[in-house]
């Protein structure tokens, strides 16, 4: 320790320089080429590109400078390659737009010119000069010159780097077994990858499995999802891990280590045939979540008939342990009351997150009377009522007296489009309300009056507007009201309801209804926060996962190798969840189909001699990419290359100056600062 301290105190500069500029010592003299981009008029209309090019030529080591219209175009790239080769350039600077957008393009171009792609530097004279100083072109040109000078200064010190290759596990985990997850899993499995489908509840299927019909075609939901669920269950490449929780995810693209806890069902999956004899023997019933608590299920049962896997589950919160199920199961011996939670470790190359959404409980919206008036339902409760396999056998009846309603009012935007609750539009409520309205009207015709209290009818995808027309033609009464001042009252005797609203021009409207159905907001999944923490992926302000880029990378997360699909990324209906499931599968396959995972070499490097193992870097890193480990006796910080994003926080936090960032070394950054200050200092003098 004293020796090291002395060494650092005596010759820090020398030490650092010799370490950081080692490649330069060996390398030949820099021959820098500067390509100034006009970017149509984006840059050239403000900045004097000719002057800038002329200026660039005056900089030390610059052997070539030219301005081009679109160096990012095919032609531009060809020209650049020719110039690099012709003039034997060994450093390339492009003065143009943002490296976030175009650095990969130019790096590819540089490597096609047989130059190491990390011997390339970008000067952003568009966002930093032309865009922000449009009214002062002369100053903007000066700033562009500063920026180019900085880039050239850094280019002199650039060192060639090699990309890091990491091993690739050709397996994938799909989190959540809703319709998006099912499609992602089937696609990936068909491509030949091993898929682990981890599902929190007892069965896959998600919300779609609970629906009666789907809009706008009115085909039976479970009839179209059921076969897909069965396919997942039977696919040789898919392993369903249901009734399970994800505890921990470590690692990086190509090599995630996942710890999953299988919760005890108290039924041995391998022995359970799903015959249901235990269910018939069981004396205990409890409210069934899958029926939205309208109906009951047995303490040993499956949530609904088409469940996959068909393995029964004992709910020990309600079971009285009479062991009648054990007797009924008999020789199959599938019941084990001593089952314990089981932890399994998975090694996967990619993760597709499809955890879906939840439903808002409108109890706290007092004007709805939900929870207080017995004939006020949520849409999903109504769905279970109208479903033939539901608790009432498909009979739409009131809760108060079991009678068929003669009028039903649907109320839109309950909780959604409300800045005090959920600001967003829940996106599918308009369409499912149309579906419910049409189903009621086409089934009961004149015997039922159907009202829809809406504010805006959003029917903006294929076949949806036509469906709206069908609803109007079938005799559904649409009443447009403001979202404010809506309320529902109940007649204490008949338990019938009156819905009040206000039209856009302030006129009061009302309708009497035997039953009211609320289109309650869809909300982020309850487990969203937990999943975000475990996977280290960001959640948006609205509680849904944030995609990497909302337009061109809608299924990627910020973490390479983790993808999003379905409603957990943003509320969407079935066709779009299906499409996004397949999209995420394709994205995941892009990772999995590689033999190794390539990481940019811009990851932290630790000088093990200087490192004291203090752990400051470990706590500073937000990617869990640097950990203190023991090397022999000495604790030393180790970088997990697959996780490091090259942000450099560890490097600046390190009290021993033991961590460097390749091509962002102290020396390189100081040189850039010197370069930008140079002229100012001279001016002041």
């Amino acid at each position: 320790m004293p020796r090291r301290a002395r060494k650092k105190a005596e010759a820090p500069e020398k030490e650092k320089r010799s370490r950081q500029t080692k490649p330069k010592a060996k390398a030949e003299t820099p021959r820098i080429g500067v390509f100034v981009c006009q970017c149509g008029s984006n840059i050239a209309s403000v900045i004097d590109v000719d002057a800038l090019t002329k200026y660039a030529k005056t900089l030390r080591n610059v052997v070539h400078a030219e301005n081009m219209n679109y160096p990012c175009s095919h032609e531009g790239q060809e020209a650049m390659i020719a110039t690099i080769k012709g003039k034997k350039l060994n450093r390339v600077v492009v003065a143009g737009c943002s490296p976030r957008l175009y650095e990969p393009t130019f790096q590819r171009c540089v490597s096609q010119a047989e130059l190491n792609p990390w011997l390339f530097e970008m000067a952003n004279i568009r966002e930093f000069a032309s865009y922000c100083h449009q009214s002062t072109p002369a100053e903007a040109t000066e700033k562009a010159k500063d920026t180019v000078r900085m880039a050239v200064a850094k280019a002199r010190l650039l060192e060639p780097l090699k990309p890091i290759e990491l091993p690739m596990a050709k397996k994938v985990m799909v989190v959540g077994g809703g319709i998006a997850g099912i499609n992602a899993a089937l696609d990936l499995a068909d491509m030949g990858f091993k898929v682990y489908m981890v599902e929190k509840t007892e069965t896959i299927g998600g919300y779609m499995a609970l629906l009666d019909k789907t809009f706008p075609t009115l085909d039976c939901s479970i009839c179209i999802e059921g076969p897909k669920m069965v396919d997942v269950g039977r696919h040789p490449n898919i392993e369903i891990i249901s009734y399970a929780d994800i505890l921990k995810v470590d690692g990086y693209a190509g090599n995630f280590k996942v710890k999953v806890r299988k919760n005890p069902r108290y039924v041995i999956a391998a022995n359970c045939t799903g015959c249901g004899e235990c269910r018939d023997a069981c004396p205990i019933e409890y409210p069934n979540y899958a029926d939205m608590y309208l109906g009951v299920r047995k303490a040993i049962s499956i949530p609904f008939g088409q469940a996959v896997p068909l393995t029964h589950t004992i709910n020990r919160d309600y079971c009285i342990e009479c062991y009648k199920c054990v007797d009924a199961c008999g020789a199959r011996q599938a019941i084990n009351f001593d089952q314990k939670p089981e932890e399994v470790e998975l090694n996967v190359g990619a993760i597709v997150v499809t955890i879906g959404y939840g439903m808002y409980n409108p109890k706290d919206l007092e004007w709805t009377g939900y929870g207080k008036f017995s004939n006020v339902f949520t849409a999903l409760e109504f769905e279970r009522l109208i479903l033939a396999a539901g608790p009432t056998g498909g009979k739409v009846v009131r809760a108060s007296d079991g009678q068929k309603p003669h009028s039903v009012a649907f109320i839109q935007c309950v909780g959604s489009r409300d800045i005090n609750r959920y600001e967003y539009c829940s996106s599918f409520c308009c369409m499912y309300t149309l579906k419910h309205a049409v189903m009621l009207k086409e089934k009961y015709r004149e015997a039922i009056e159907v009202y829809v209290f809406y504010n805006d009818m959003r029917s903006n995808f294929k076949g949806y507007e036509e469906f709206f027309n069908r609803a109007q033609k079938s005799g559904v009464k649409f009443i447009r009201v403001k979202l404010e001042n809506r309320r529902i009252t109940e007649d204490a005797q008949t338990k019938s309801l009156t819905v009040y609203g206000e039209t856009e021009d302030g006129k009061p409207v009302s309708a009497e209804a035997d039953m009211v159905v609320l289109a309650n907001a869809a909300v982020p999944a309850e487990t969203g926060r937990e999943v975000a923490r475990i996977l280290n992926i960001p959640l948006g302000k609205d509680g849904f996962f944030v995609e990497c880029q909302p337009k061109i990378r809608p299924t990627d997360t910020d973490v390479p190798g983790i993808f999003l699909a379905g409603a957990c990324q943003g509320l969407k209906d079935i066709p779009y969840s299906v499409a996004q499931g397949s999209a995420a599968a394709a994205q995941a396959a892009c990772v999995l189909s590689k033999d190794s995972w390539t990481v940019e070499p811009l990851v932290a490097r630790v000088n093990e001699e200087l490192c004291s193992g203090c752990g400051v870097c470990e706590s500073a890193c937000s990617y869990r990419a640097i950990n203190v480990e023991k090397v022999g006796e000495k604790p030393v910080a180790k970088v997990v290359e697959g996780l490091c994003r090259g942000c450099g926080i560890c490097s600046s936090a390190c009290p021993m100056d033991a961590i460097t960032m390749p091509n962002y070394s102290d020396n390189q950054i100081l040189t850039q600062i010197q370069a930008v200050m140079e002229k100012r200092v001279r001016k002041r003098e």
Binding site: P283, I284, E285, L294, G295, I320, C322, Y323, K324, V376
Partner: protein
Amino acid sequence: MPLKVLKEETAESLMLEWVLHVKNYKLTVNKNKCVGCQICTLACPKEAVTLEKHPKIQGEKAQKARVDIDLTKCNFCGICDVSCPYGAINVTVDGKHLLSVLEKQSFPQLVRDIKADAHKFPLDREKSEVVCPLKLIKVSFLTADGKTVDPSSLSESERQRLNVKVDVDKEHCPCCGICEVKLPNGAMYVHKFLSGKLSINTTKCPEGCTDCLDVCPITGALYLSDSNSKVHVNEMFCVYCGACKAVCPVDDALELKRTHINHTPVRSGAWNKALERLTSSTEMSKELKTKGSLKARESVRKRVGLKGEENA
């Protein structure tokens, strides 16, 4: 309509309810019938029932322990209903008193072996009805043409021709057997469904405390001795419900052991556990062994075909 879980308590009753769209589960504790004994707390498989002692007020009689049911634990199985010796708990599904635990043979019924011989009853309504501490015996006298009459207003010969009708509210009867002793010989036959041992440790029992006596619903099962003003047990009438134990202020002053419960035959883990809690592990294993040996005997009999032995 969302699931409603309700709990209401009045001076008369405690009511728990699950209201689902298609089903309704209701549990009612009749506080007038409930004596605050321990049976339901021990029988409940979910440990949802608890007893709470009332704070003692100096100079006043002790009050029976208050029963409370945790709505988050209760699953409306009805085991408390089935096992209550006083019939104070009523569980209904959609308003019907049909319990799935009985139907599926997951729990036995208590066997209340009560027989009344109306001919041997005295021709005095008051006198016959008053013997039952819980007022469960109803006697009526009918003339040949079916009219209800008061025998005291009739002549001796008319009295001899009366039809005596005895109604015993068996559902609420804990089978103490007082009626058997106090009514003329043979008028009533009562076999206890709970047996065991209740004793008072006189060294621990505090002087002057009559809490147990105050709450005991069976007059005569506990009594105050004249000699040392301490409470004593008359095991002839004790039904081993444990209402006394629930209010006793001193640990181990009252020793209660239940040894046997007379019940309909059943094969159920829930019953075995309830039995273990109500009696003891040894008593439970005894019952299991008996069941086992009966089963063995049965199978041997089947195999060997000794059908004649059945009558022997």
